[in-house]
């Protein structure tokens, strides 16, 4: 996709370049030469982009295919030119999709200038050789020639820009808006945007559906939303209820964390669950120094034990969390108890 877009951009700029080049004195001779060639071989005009090979490989291909088929008067010169052009162009044009555009452009500009130089040389030679013979004819036909050429140029340019705009539009459409209008659906931008939005919402709804229990059976967005709202409300009520319980359950404790932990150290051994960490009562009983008991490590253990014991379905991984607690969280926990 990028490739085509770039190509289009290249062609567009090429057209501009082409226009600008008419005023440039450097390419003036080339233009004259062009006139000459066109006079001799009318098929030359379509392959004009080959003078600006920054657009694409295609143009080089055109050059390659064109030159042999053109049946030129000076085959040896053209053969040389052909070879030169190929050699000079190839580094720029072996670009693949992986290369970025800037690099490519630079390379191409280089090759372009090279080609221009080569061409100029050739043209000079050819000028000297052929100019004498062709001068009268050229003079005669110049006026009509130029008029036809300008028309053709315009045509080419038009087709170029048309093509590029069409293709970029297509690419944009396929790139950004994934919603396709089916039969009978509106295609104006508002409807498409609305459809994209709705698709996005339904995607998230599906995501939510997995989270909320009992939401799978319900069909229809309104019902689903209702269920989600109920679930959120119930969760919020639960939080309120639990905080009430926490406030009333042990007013004596008054959220003395040390007391909580002391209590849990006692209560923890009752629930013997597989725990990779040494059980806290063992730590306490096995003659750990008192300050160690107050430190975060021991604090953490009963908490973890309680959490795991009262909620066996939780995704608690004892071994994993133990290491985690050990490293970062222990400091926080040691700060907890005053």
């Amino acid at each position: 996709m990028m490739m085509t877009m770039m190509m289009n951009g290249g062609e567009a700029t090429e057209a501009e370049l082409f226009l600008n080049c008419d005023d440039m004195s450097v390419l003036e001779r080339q233009r004259v030469q062009l006139n000459y060639h066109q006079y001799h071989h009318p098929g030359f005009e379509p392959t004009l982009p080959c003078f600006f090979p920054n657009s694409s490989k295609m143009n080089v291909g055109e050059v390659d295919s064109f030159l042999p088929s053109a049946g030129l008067d000076l085959p040896e010169i053209y053969g040389e030119l052909h070879g030169d052009a190929r050699i000079s162009v190839s580094p720029g044009n072996i670009t693949t999709e992986s290369e970025n555009s800037k690099k490519r452009k630079f390379g191409c500009v280089d090759t372009e200038t090279k080609v221009c130089n080569e061409k100029k040389k050739m043209m000079m030679m050819m000028d000297r050789e052929v100019a004498v013979e062709e001068e009268e004819e050229e003079e005669k036909s110049k006026v009509t020639e130029q008029s036809t050429r300008s028309i053709m140029k315009m045509k080419e340019q038009n087709s170029c820009s048309n093509d590029s705009s069409k293709v970029t539009k297509d690419s944009q459409r396929t790139d950004y808006i994934h919603v396709r209008a089916r039969r009978g659906q509106a295609t104006d931008s508002h409807s498409i945007a609305e459809r994209a939005r709705r698709e996005k919402i339904s995607e998230r709804m599906k995501f939510l559906q997995d989270l909320v229990p009992g939401c799978e059976k319900i069909t229809g967005k309104a019902g689903m939303l209702d269920e989600i709202i109920n679930y959120v409300q119930s969760l919020q009520r639960q939080v309120e209820f639990l905080s009430m319980k926490l406030a009333t359950v042990s007013p004596r404790v008054d959220f003395n964390i040390d007391d909580i932990f002391a209590k849990e150290v006692v209560s923890a051994p009752m629930m013997n669950l597989p725990n990779t960490v040494m059980p806290p009562h063992m730590m306490v009983n096995s003659g750990y120094p008192h300050d160690m008991v107050n430190s975060g490590y021991v604090h953490f253990n009963p908490m973890q034990q309680v959490v795991t014991s009262s909620d066996p379905l939780s995704c608690f991984n004892n071994g994993q969390s133990a290491t985690m607690w050990d490293s970062d969280v222990q400091n926080l926990y040691s700060n907890l108890g005053v």
């Binding site: 950004y176 609305e194 994209a196 939005r197 996005k200 919402i201 995607e203 998230r204 709804m205 995501f207 939510l208 989270l211 909320v212 967005k221 309104a222 939303l225 989600i228 709202i229 679930y231 959120v232 409300q233 969760l235 919020q236 639960q238 939080v239 309120e240 639990l242 905080s243 009430m244 319980k245 926490l246 406030a247 359950v249 042990s250 007013p251 404790v253 008054d254 959220f255 003395n256 964390i257 909580i260 209590k263 849990e264 209560s267 009963p302 908490m303 973890q304 309680v306 959490v307 009262s310 909620d311 939780s314 995704c315 608690f316 969390s321 985690m324 607690w325 926080l332 907890l336 005053v338």
Partner: protein, 157 residues
């Protein structure tokens, strides 16, 4: 348009992160209470609830989420503190949307209700609201689990 391609990310930290934050805020409460006179249970319930929400918001990515930002901001406002949260990238949200006839009015109403439930939901567009709701639900259920464990642990035997 770029945001449309962003995958839905509702990853929630581990449960012990929630537990840690909650315990920390509880201990903060206790520290405050030592200076105050003994209060009524009602006030304590409120404080614990607030602590629960704030710790949940902190545990769940702090200011990265819209709902947690809103919660923290609200809590800071209640404390009469001027807390400056880090600026988020300015998002252009069109609050006064064009209500087309094609949208289901019931659906819109439900979405409005949900918007009132999820903190900070007032300024969200619907798809964003859904994403935030998913994250919020995950965090809430985690918090409920943690609190349940704590209550069970504290319950007199």
């Amino acid at each position: 348009m770029a945001s449309a391609d962003k995958p839905i990310n509702t990853d929630v930290p581990e449960k012990d992160v929630f537990a840690l934050h909650f315990l920390q805020s509880l201990s903060n409460l206790r520290r405050q209470n030592t200076f105050n006179s003994p209060e009524k249970t009602n006030d304590r319930v409120k404080k614990i609830k607030k602590a629960a929400y704030v710790s949940m918001a902190r545990a769940a990515g702090g200011t990265n989420r819209l709902w947690s930002r809103a919660l923290l901001r609200r809590a800071a406002k209640e404390n009469n503190k001027v807390v400056r949260l880090p600026r988020r990238k300015k998002r252009v949200t069109c609050l006064r949307r064009r209500r087309s006839n094609r949208r289901d009015p019931v659906e819109e109403e439900e979405a409005e209700r949900l918007r009132n439930l999820v903190p900070g939901g007032g300024g969200m567009e619907t798809s964003k609201l859904m994403e935030e709701t998913a994250h919020y639900i995950k965090c809430l259920s985690m918090q409920v689990k943690v609190m349940q464990c704590l209550v069970d642990g504290l319950a007199p035997k």
